[in-house]
Every structure is written in C-alpha cells, then in structure tokens.
C-alpha cells in the first residue's frame, strides 16, 4: 500500500448520492478493506457534467466551482464513475479556461481517480480474493475506456474472482445509450441502444452484467425493467463486495 495516499476523499457522484447510495458504500467498504482511511465531505453535490454536456457552460461552471472548493485539500480523490472522472480531468480545463480557478481545476484533474484506475495504480488488483461461481459480462463505460484510457483494469479485477467466468461481447466497448441528457432528450433512441446492449449480454447467457459507471447502470437497469429482463446489473464495487464477501 502506498502510505502517502492512505487517506482517501470519497467522490460520490450525484447519481450515487441521490439514487444508488449502496454503490458509494460498496466502494467505501472496498477501500477500507484494502486498509485506507476514507473521508466523505457532504458539501459535494455534482461535478457539473449534466449542464456541461447540455452546452450550458455557465451553469456547469457554478456547480463545478463548488466541487473544486470541496476537493481543494485532499491529496487523492476516488470515485465510482469513469464518466464523472473524465469530466473533471478532461473537461474542467475547457470549462475553467482563462479562469482564475484554472490551476485548481488542472490540479484536481490529476488527483481524481476512477475506482478501478486507483486500484491499478495502487497495485490492489492482486489483493482481490474471492470465490463466486457465475457467468459475468462486463459493460465497459465508454468514458472510462476512451476518455480516461482505462483499458482492462476492471476486467482484471473480475478475473481475480475464483469460479467467475467472463463472457465478453466482440467489438468493445459499445455505448449503452445513456449519455446523460441525451437519454432524456432522445429517450427512444437511448432506449433502443440500451436494449441492443442488454440483448448482446443476454444472448451470451450471462448471469450478471457488471459495469463501472452509475450512469450506464441506471440506464440499463431502467431498460431491463421495461423489457422484463431479469439479469442483475451491478456496479463493479457492488459485485466485488458480494464476491469477496466483505461486510
């Protein structure tokens, strides 16, 4: 363990805070399991991505500035979303360009890490141990993969679980259709994309769909409910807590 980073500030994205608190708790449990001390600053609300992606940069800036203030002090910030991490690392520099907070935004981008990215960087993957017999499909978040360049870390983490069999579709990663406000503005297209994605997994016969982004998870879960697809869709942290039998 890298003792310099033994204290971790939890970044709880708005979807986790408001809709799926259990994902936040699962991530906190895993980090504690690996020996880290975790802190949660409840002043955090959202990274600002919804407004940024809608083109409303002034609104995004207001919310993002609060976020910047909250995470000024901690040395390392870990969150369960590749998409939100990408917003901070790749788009805060755009949002805060020519702004007095630009340096702070750049600094934050380098210390916010997506959960699997953090595990890889801290060599935690090899410390994952567990037994869980199941056929699992991993839905790679586009933003983790393409915006952050997180390649196989989440898959490597799953592979550590004894008895688990991974069934991955070809041509990865393929978008689930969430895209934030896209799924509200163009709900029919977004739903069809989620359905295509779910069918890809169910055709592979998986018993669990695991992903590393709460946005993808929410979108696929809602579509699964609508289509009567019963396959559980879990966040990587939720799945690991279950498979590693962490309480």
């Amino acid at each position: 363990m890298n003792t310099a980073h033994s204290k971790i500030a939890l970044f709880i994205p708005c979807l986790v805070d408001q809709i799926y608190p259990e994902i936040g708790f699962a991530m906190a449990s895993l980090l504690k399991h690996f020996g880290y001390e975790v802190n949660y600053d409840s002043r955090q609300t959202c990274c600002g991505q919804p407004a940024f992606n809608a083109g409303h940069r002034s609104e995004a800036g207001k919310v993002a500035r609060t976020f910047l203030r909250v995470f000024k002090e901690p040395d390392i910030v870990v969150g369960p979303s590749g998409s939100c991490t990408a917003m901070i690392r790749n788009y805060y520099p755009v949002l805060f360009k020519d702004d007095h907070d630009c340096d702070a935004a750049l600094a934050l981008g380098s210390k916010v890490l997506e959960f699997s990215e953090f595990c890889q960087r801290e060599n935690l993957i090899e410390r994952i141990e567990g037994k869980f017999k199941a056929l699992v499909g991993f839905h790679n978040s586009c933003h983790s993969y393409r915006e952050l360049g997180i390649g196989q870390a989440p898959v490597e983490m799953l592979k550590r679980i004894e008895g688990l069999e991974l069934r991955q579709p070809a041509g990865e990663p393929v978008c689930c259709g969430f895209g934030g406000l896209f799924s509200a503005k163009y709900s029919a297209i977004a739903a069809a994309m989620a359905n295509t994605r779910l069918l890809t997994f169910t055709e592979l016969g998986v018993e669990y769909i695991v992903s590393n982004d709460p946005g993808c998870i929410m979108h696929m879960r809602q579509e699964a409910i609508d289509r009567g697809i019963g396959t559980p869709i879990l966040h990587l942290t939720e799945f690991l807590v279950k498979a590693m039998n962490i309480t």
């Binding site: 083109g55 207001k62 586009c142 509200a184 069809a192």
Partner: protein, 459 residues
C-alpha cells in the same frame, strides 16, 4: 414540421424497428472486422499513420488560400477551367451555364456527396435534362427516389431482395437473389448512358495542389467511365479536398480505403491532370472544376471548428456510431449523416434549424477513436451544444430546467431541501411525465448517500 420534430418522429420509428437494426448491425459488423484486420495487416502502425495524416491536413488548412490558388494555376495551365462557387446557388448556376454552352441534354454522374449537397440532380431535372447515377448504390437510391443512406455506402439499407424488386419494377429485369445478376442488369442499363451522355459529372476524393490534379478513388470503374466517355467532364468539389502534392497519396489512398471499406486500396484510382491534351487519343475535350465553399470558409475561420475540414469523407464515424446504427442515415435528413454530419451541418446550414443534431449523440467517443485524420468529433459536438445555447437556439424548457438544476446543485442544503420535496412529490408527478422519459427515471430511495453516511459513520 420542423427539422427537429421530424428527426424525433423518424428516430422513434427506427428505434422500434428491430429488422432495420439487425440489417445495419450485420452490414456494420462485417465491415468492422474487415477494417480492423486491414489496419493491422496494411499499416505497421495505424496510430502514427493517423498522426501523419492529421499533420498533412493541418498543413493544408494552414495554407488553404495559397494551395487553392496553386491548384487553380496548375490545372488551368493544362486546359481545365476553374469556377469558384460561394453558395449552392452559385454552383448550380455555373453548372447550368456549362450545360447550356455545350447544349447538353444528358448527364451521367459518379458518386459525389458534394453534388448531393448542391442538389445537383434536382437542378438538372428541373432544367429539363436527364441524369443517371452510375455508382451502383447511388443508382439504386436514385431509382427508389431516395437520398443516400450513408456517405460511402448509399444503399446499405437495401437488401438484395429489395433491390431485385426495385429493378424488376423500374427496369423490367427478372426477379433474382443473385447480387451478380443485379449488377449485370445495372451494367447494361448504364452502358448506353455512358456512350450517349453529353456531360460526365464526378466529385473529387482529393485535389492535388502541387501538380494540379484530381484524384478519384472507386471500386466499380464507373467514375473512370463517367469522366472519360462524355466529351465534357465537370468536377464538383469542396475547397477542403486539397492535399499538398502527389507525395501524400501513398498515405491517403490506403488510409481512405482502409477506413472507408476495409480495403488495402480501392480497385480503381485515377489521377486527372486536365482535359485531353494535343496528340492524346481519348479523354474529355473539356474539363471544368467547380470549387464549392458553401459555408466551409466559416468553419475555416473558426479556430475551434477548422479541424472538421480535415475530413476525407471515409464514413468511419458513421459506422462506429451507435446512434447512426440505431436510427439509420435517412433520419438525419442531411447530406452528411452521423457524427461528422452532426458536427458540420449546424455550421453549413442555419444553427437554429440543425442544432438538435449536436445533441443526438451519447458522446461515447467511438467516432473520435476511429477517425483517420483525428478529428475530435465528440468534443466538437460539445462545442456545438455550447454554441447553440449561447445563440439561444435551444429549447426554453431545457434552459429553465438547467438553470434550476444549477441552483439546486449549488449547495448541499438546497439539494437536500429540493430532494425532500421531490421525493414526496415524485410519485404524484410521475404519471404526468411522458412515458418515454418516465421509463428512464428510477425509483428514488428515501435517503441519499449523504443522509445515510453520517448515521453510518456514527454507528
């Protein structure tokens, strides 16, 4: 009906059409595996090929005015005549003037999206002339009275059975399930048109500034016949099509073929340096080139959007796009579909009428990851959205909604306050939310992470 509501209606239809989706997915997945294999087998390092291509195109854009003049000078020196068209209207006028000058009645065309952009077929027909599309895919959509579905594969949405039926109805050929027989039917239908046409129209895949040349790449040989059989050849090309010299072709021809169709190189590649020269036995007697701006110089003058002019129209971003795959090409109702179309159309046409396309993306960045000239497509879509908002081109409800959102998420206490109200009210509001959107909203738990954490930590 506005472009936006018609986009919504068409996309909803396609979203429900599993048959359409399976057809497109099948075409795209065959295509994908060919493209990926070719990237590995033909290029020692695809990533550096892209960087190099990006660099050459950037060089072109940095020197665009000079290179355009050089192109005009070089190709004019060998007898071609160059026209400059600022708008669709100007391009149409130049073309009709050429037709009148040569007393033309019949026009044959090879595949060109630039001619689609200026509505050339409609222009030709309303002037009382006849026009034949000679590219097989284009001929199919022309016979069907449709627009191209895709900038590279215009008839990808048609199955062999559908084409057979179309040919049977329009050309009187017998029904068949053999693609070869259908191709032969098209061939005999077109043969006479090549011989009797007064004018042959092509686009240009590249314009070469240094040597003054037009490059045509194709797989059917139809472009070569189109430019060489009739006595007059008219090229219609966007001003961004330039490459500095022929030396760029060993990179750009395989790059385009690999990205576009998964080929090493296309079957026919022509370098045209002018009309028939003295002492040459064949080729057109006259060569005219219409260089089209039509909004491109606006993209050129924008520092952020200039990179969109690097596009070589390979269609890779369309194939990679999960939205394109779901809604298909016609839904966009634009000349250029998919991610590149959604980036440039709101600039080439009125932003207010076309900004909705910039939002028709989940920002998954698959487009950016496949673009052979490294256009940052998904980021440009974000830039478009921001521009649309600043131009007051987005809807009132969204504007108010996001202002409220920013207020609510501005502090934890406000968020908690509105959350409590929302949680109580949502079950009552839910039935009034349109079904499509309602499905997307999950059940909100009574307590947020923030609420739960303090009690969790105390225990």
């Amino acid at each position: 009906m506005s472009n936006y509501s018609s986009f919504i209606r068409r996309s909803e239809e396609k979203a429900e059409d599993r048959g359409h989706l399976l057809k497109i997915l099948k075409a795209v997945s065959t295509h994908d595996s060919k493209v990926e294999a070719m990237k590995v087998s033909q290029f020692r390092d695809w990533a550096s090929a892209r960087v190099q291509a990006e660099g050459i195109k950037n060089h072109v854009l940095e020197n665009l005015p000079e290179l355009l003049e050089q192109f005009e000078e070089k190709i004019s020196a060998r007898g071609a005549e160059v026209f400059w068209a600022r708008t669709t209207g100007e391009a149409q006028t130049h073309f009709l003037d050429i037709c009148r000058q040569h007393n033309a009645h019949k026009v044959i065309k090879s595949k060109s999206m630039t001619t689609e952009e200026i509505l050339l077929n409609e222009t030709i027909e309303s002037a009382g002339m006849k026009v034949w599309e000679s590219d097989l895919g284009e001929m199919i959509v022309q016979l069907a009275g449709e627009k191209p579905y895709h900038i590279v594969t215009p008839a990808m949405h048609k199955s062999t059975a559908e084409i057979s039926e179309l040919f049977h109805e329009k050309l009187g050929t017998p029904m068949t399930d053999s693609a070869e027989e259908l191709t032969m039917a098209a061939r005999s239908y077109l043969r006479d048109a090549y011989i009797t046409a007064d004018i042959g129209v092509t686009g240009a895949n590249f314009l070469i500034a240094g040597e003054g040349a037009i490059i045509l790449t194709e797989n059917e040989g139809n472009a070569r016949l189109t430019m060489s059989c009739p006595p007059v050849h008219v090229v219609i090309a966007g001003i961004e099509k330039l490459l500095p010299s022929l030396e760029a072709l060993p990179l750009f021809l395989p790059l385009l073929a690999t990205s576009g169709t998964g080929q090493q190189i296309t079957c026919y590649n022509s370098i045209i340096r002018g009309p028939r020269q003295a002492g040459e036995p064949d080729g057109p007697e006259k060569l005219y080139i219409i260089l089209l701006d039509n909004g491109r110089s606006d993209l050129y003058s924008s520092r952020r959007f200039r990179e969109s002019l690097r596009c070589i129209r390979c269609g890779a971003c369309l194939n990679a796009c999960p939205v394109y795959r779901t809604i298909g090409g016609h839904t966009y109702q634009t000349t250029y579909q998919g991610p590149i179309g959604s980036v440039i159309t709101p600039h080439l046409k009125p932003m207010k009428e076309w900004q909705h396309l910039s939002f028709a993306s989940s920002l998954c960045a698959a487009c950016t990851s496949v673009c052979p000239v490294k256009i940052d497509l998904h980021t440009l879509l974000l830039e478009n959205r921001s521009e649309a908002y600043s131009d007051h081109a987005t809807g009132f409800l969204w504007r108010v909604g996001l202002k409220f959102w920013a207020y609510m998420f501005g502090s934890r206490s406000r968020l908690n306050f509105f959350r409590t109200i929302g949680w109580i009210k949502l079950p009552f509001i839910r039935p009034f939310i349109p079904r499509g959107l309602r499905k997307r909203i999950p059940v909100i738990p009574s307590k947020s992470f923030s609420n739960l954490w303090s009690s969790h930590e105390r225990s």
